[in-house]
Assembly symmetry: C2
Homo-oligomer: 147 residues x 2
Amino acid sequence: MEITDFGLGDPETMGLQLIVYQNNDRYCAKELVLLPGQTCAEHRHPPLSEINPGKQETFRCRWGEVYLYTPGRRTSRPKAKLPEKYRSHITVWHEIVLKQGDQYTIPPNTLHWFQAGKRGAVVSEFSSTSDDESDVFTDPAVKRVSD
Amino acid sequence: MEITDFGLGDPETMGLQLIVYQNNDRYCAKELVLLPGQTCAEHRHPPLSEINPGKQETFRCRWGEVYLYTPGRRTSRPKAKLPEKYRSHITVWHEIVLKQGDQYTIPPNTLHWFQAGKRGAVVSEFSSTSDDESDVFTDPAVKRVSD
């Protein structure tokens, strides 16, 4: 299992546990495990070549609840709570609530972030090839991959 | 949920239940549910174009036990049992046993078939794009997709 704190040193607030089942040049499958209220920082998967528009991913909530945010109409009373120091690096606030058995597909190059509900969450991620190094995070302090 | 009997009219022996979570032009994810001893008929996923060598798929056993057969050294005492009328259309007998938490990736254009153990099985399939119509079955009586 991989644990990331996005280089922020505050993993219980901004962090994610991942189990990568498969990542090859055609598809990728992971299990994401989130502690209660734990948050994955806002990012996007940019185009990588003329024939690769960037990673596309489907999140399927297997257990617990996830609040997912994407571009679109800002949700007036978002369920996710974040300290101001992290909130200032969030730019998309359209909320999608994923309960057990719900799923959502995020198009390539689309900003998104997500937070687990109060019991935490287990999320299956089905996607095109994963290349963490190319991810673009909104918060300039984030380092997804260690130097 | 989709139920297939491969057009053989004997679904409890040769059949498969599928839940397709996602199938787009880049990746596919399904849950396969097998009754005790139920078998998926031998088939391969052929090349579809100059840049598509055929569907590649990863089977991850989530529950129960699966006996998976691929090309390779014939297993002398295979765990899978099949009536002679179906066994005569099986050509690969290299056995891979998948228990809960085990997984195996089948390269494109590679013959394979599988049977659930005595309790049945739940298998997550992660793959490149799925196109059932192009599957090539060894048994000429099989019809994967209804006319």
